[in-house]
């Protein structure tokens, strides 16, 4: 099973610096957070965000990981309902698949805020990175660097919406440049290990590569390792999506890793909770809050906060 992949966004132009001791009076606020995997730093960062929320609102936050298993995530939401949490934060592993569980939670009167990806079944709102935009940003940078022509490689990931959206945004831009040729499209399963293996083979099969797009930073690191070992670090550059700590390190080191569309997971949680509190108090909220990603390059990495 693929490792990291899904992800999300940036501070929802934080509207929420605030929140005067909301929560349910008297009793401690109980929040359930379920994420697809805690094996991905992105979601770990999200859970860190949840801890911040906890101290901020004096809430209890229960964080669980679905291990890329839809059934498990459904079960976890059911357990949250049993525990009578006040709010469910759901980073869905699969937007359609989780619908049943979401509906149950809503029926039990618990607000559900989706993070980092839409979920069916009647969620109150969703806070996520604009993944299409993330793919687009990466593509635009790539096109610009290549002057609109060259051989590129795409390293895909697991078929979850966050990933497919990035690919979608990327392709939208690329398709306008007929001189940019996708010479290989393989799946790195979202992790460094597999991306490295795959890239080694792609390097062998293709003599001239001008740029590589990976769906997350872990894959990008794998690609870069393969590139350096093949001694082809000057041949092409790499762009990806995430803004993970490993990407920051690489950008600072200034190699072939050129840039990444950074997301903001902990802000995502904080915004999500803030929105939920509004919901609990009966306020209307937007159906969807898209957090734009920000393209980080070697030039502006120093001003990037990171996860």
């Amino acid at each position: 099973s693929g490792g990291g992949s899904e992800s999300s966004g940036e501070p929802a132009e934080p509207n929420n610096e605030n929140t005067d001791e909301v929560g349910t009076e008297g009793e401690q606020l109980k929040i359930g957070l379920t994420v697809p995997t805690l094996g991905n730093p992105f979601f770990v960062a999200m859970s860190k965000g949840a801890e911040e929320v906890a101290s901020k609102y004096d809430a209890e936050v229960i964080t669980v990981s679905a291990e890329h298993d839809l059934a498990k995530q459904t079960a976890q939401i059911e357990d949250f309902i049993t525990k009578k949490v006040d709010l469910i934060l759901l980073s869905p592993f699969d937007s359609a698949g989780i619908a049943g569980a979401v509906a149950q939670a809503r029926a039990a009167g618990i607000p559900v805020v989706a993070l980092d990806g839409f979920a069916e079944g009647g969620i109150n709102t969703v806070v996520m990175s604009d993944n299409v935009q993330a793919g687009r940003l990466a593509a635009e940078y790539l096109v610009e660097q290549l002057d609109g022509k060259g051989n590129i490689v795409i390293i895909d990931g697991p078929p979850v919406s966050a990933v497919t959206d990035r690919i979608k945004g990327f392709n939208e831009v690329i398709s306008e440049y007929p001189d940019i040729k996708v010479i290989a499209n393989q799946n790195g399963e979202g992790n460094r290990e597999k991306a490295l293996d795959v890239m080694e083979s792609i390097l062998t099969a293709n003599q001239q590569i001008d740029a590589v797009f990976t769906i997350n930073d872990e894959e990008a690191v794998g690609v870069q390792i393969a590139q350096e070992q093949a001694g082809r670090q000057d041949e092409f550059f790499i762009v990806s999506v995430d803004g993970a700590p490993s990407a920051v390190d690489l950008l600072k080191a200034g190699g072939s890793f050129a840039g990444t569309s950074a997301q903001f997971p902990n802000t995502m949680v904080i915004d999500g909770v803030a929105l939920a509190l509004k919901i609990i108090e009966g306020e209307e909220v937007a159906e969807e809050v898209l957090i734009p990603t920000k393209f980080i390059t070697q030039d502006n990495v120093d001003s990037y906060e990171g996860w």
Binding site: E78, I81, G100, G121, P159
Partner: protein, 325 residues
Amino acid sequence: MNINPQESVQTRVSFKKRSQQIFNNLGMVIILFLLIVVMMIVAPNFTDPSNILNILRQSSITAILAAGMTLVILTGGIDLSVGSILALSGVISVMLSNAGVPVPIAMLAGVGVGYLVGAINGYFTAKPKLPSFIVTLGSMTYVRGLAFVITGGYPVVLASENFKFIGSGYILGIPTPIYVMTLVYIVMFIMLKYTMFGRHIYSVGGNEEASRLTGIKVERTLINVYSISGMLAGVAGVVMAGRLFTGQPMVGVGAELDAIAAVILGGTSFVGGFGRIQGTIIGVLIVAVLTNGMTLLNVDYYWQQVVKGLVIVIAVLLDRLRKRV
């Protein structure tokens, strides 16, 4: 005068090894019971009727897979492909249903696909006598590949409300999957205990050569066993699709290991020939209660893994030690 004076003495050396592999169910029932008592004391809301139903519903998929797995392990084999079959069956039945095929037929088609893959597994295991581990490792890989290929990797959203009923509906306030699971276990229980086929499974698992000599159609028995396992994986796939409102190519990864763990916790032996379906459901529940309780207790997710791994080993160990005394 008794010409068999040794009738009372129990075991022979040659069977010592074998019987050491037998776990009877009682030990595990006690462990499940203790686990429930502990959870009742420490875990908030554990005894809520809704939580009990949750546990059962959450168990149902693994339970259905584990029922088929019990048969396979009884014959001394293993079926690694059930998780992948679950995905493929779910995807196919959802796609058919979305394409306008009536729900029952779409569901049957999903189950049928599982049956077919199972039959192929069984054929290669029985006829050219390939090790079931490698045959089902192969089908685990290509079946999931197929699920990806036909969906292009995307989950297929389920349109039909009727279809959802199988996974998300209620009958008399009890979730439908619990009925499916119960039915599967009743049928399997009767089949194993009161039909020729059931007895042949034990016989083949216990001594394949001897079974052949007594005229049992060993190949046919094996093919049927794997077909049933595949079919039940298909059933699980359809229920899962109805529960998740989607046909997911990547669902059920690792489900085979959960099912196998449940079967072994339930006292069925890898040697083949020893075990009972009742034990399997106990094994399923042990894991389900543990997971549910730890989530209710808000145990750190990583520590849950550590605890779960240790509990599996300790449960089997306690059961073994109990039998030593």
